[in-house]
């Protein structure tokens, strides 16, 4: 469970424990959950098909203007679906320190 940074006094907790800022989980770094491996894309092989993007449970890929996909270390939990599903085998799971 994530620690709550802002321990508000009871009067400041939003009504009924509602969360007023839409999509603020973006602040939460799930990249810390990776254990030892991360994906790396070989752009020579990449055909910009977007499978890594659409099959990512953590929305850790974003398309750039040139059509390639950027990997986001902040959210990637290292599951490896992108590497397995890449039709061109352009994505490898490599040791985190590499």
């Amino acid at each position: 469970m994530a620690k709550i940074d802002a321990l508000h006094p009871w009067k400041e907790v939003p009504l009924g424990c509602a969360i007023l800022e839409a999509g603020n989980s973006r602040q939460f770094k799930t990249g810390d959950w990776r254990s030892k491996i991360r994906p790396v894309t070989d752009q020579e092989k990449c055909i910009k098909c977007g499978m890594c993007w659409i099959f990512c449970p953590d929305m850790a890929y974003n398309q750039r203007a040139d059509g390639f996909y950027d990997w986001n270390s902040y959210y990637c939990k290292g599951c490896g679906i992108c590497a397995r599903e890449c039709p061109k085998e352009a994505i490898q799971m490599i040791a985190e320190e590499e």
């Binding site: 009871w10 009067k11 509602a18 007023l20």
Partner: protein
Amino acid sequence: MPIQKGMEVSIAVSEAVKLANVDVISAYPITPQTHIVEHLSELVADGELKAAFIPVESEHSALSAAVGAAAVGARAYTATSSQGLALMHEIMFVASSMRIPLVMTVVNRALSAPINIWNDLSDIMAQRDCGWVQLFAINGQEAVDLTLQAFKIAEDPRVLLPVAVNLDGFVLSHVIEPIELPDQEAVDRFLPVFKPTLRLDPDQPVSMGAFGSPEVFIEVKKQVEEALIGSQKVAAEVWKDFGDIFGRTYKPVESYKAKGAEILLVTMGSITETAMTAVDSMREKGRKVGLIHIRLWRPFPFKEFFQAIREAKCLAVVDRALVPGGVGGPVGLEIKSALFEKKERPYVAEFVAGLGGRDLTVEVFAEMAAKAERYAKTQKEMRYEMIGVREK
């Protein structure tokens, strides 16, 4: 000017709901709540009430749908009784802690088993701790007035809690009484359109019903508790407004011939009027008996209660529910605990009576008053006494 007309109390309550201009009604039929929702569905079917009527498949869904409707900013209403209320139990707590303002009529009926369709308060007393504002009507006019007031209390930005208006099954819900239905124009002045503080709106997305870890859970509960306690002040303002517009006044605790009374009967709900008759006849016989009835059960109006009993030597508390294995009934339990802080306190004789529709006649009230007086004299040690149980 509105005039008094004889009408069935259930019908009058549904007319009050119509006057409150509700947007969504979700309901599941259960005796003795049925006449209320039947009439509401007729009003919707005839276009006299512009609202959605959701004929849900259970009471659990009735309350759930009402919560959903209120969450998008609709004025939501439901009604139930007994087993239906028990089925709602889970969502009762959710509705208050999510700060969902809605109104529910509880037509009080005994809880099974044995299955029994008649009146007592065991259904609502099992929901005592659910965080709702809980009001009790003693007659049809009160049932109508409290229904209108309930919306205003619930929707006040300082409250934002669900409100239960209780009326006794059959003995109140199904009787014909002279009732004055207010004018729509006056109701609109008293109760403007609901303006939600928070709602599900695609232009301003919020998440409602979030997961609360130990770091926030207790703060949320504190908030609900403060809002519930604070609702008494709001209720007082609402009652003031109501009195100004409609000329009928309401208080959290009402007294009847309490001045100079040494013995006070303590009642809730429609038995109060029978108890008043008993008080009248006892007074005629020169006995110093009076009565108080509790209209606002949650939040409990401690100050007004102490004020109302300050001259009494003895309280005869009439509970229509049992706390099994405990000290008696819920009202007696509340009162005894409240009095514990007082050095000077009256003797409390606690009676559990009228369960499952057992008739509470004038004579039974006289019997309880007489017993209370006797027990007080000897300071008899008692937890409670169950009235009317056949021993042989």
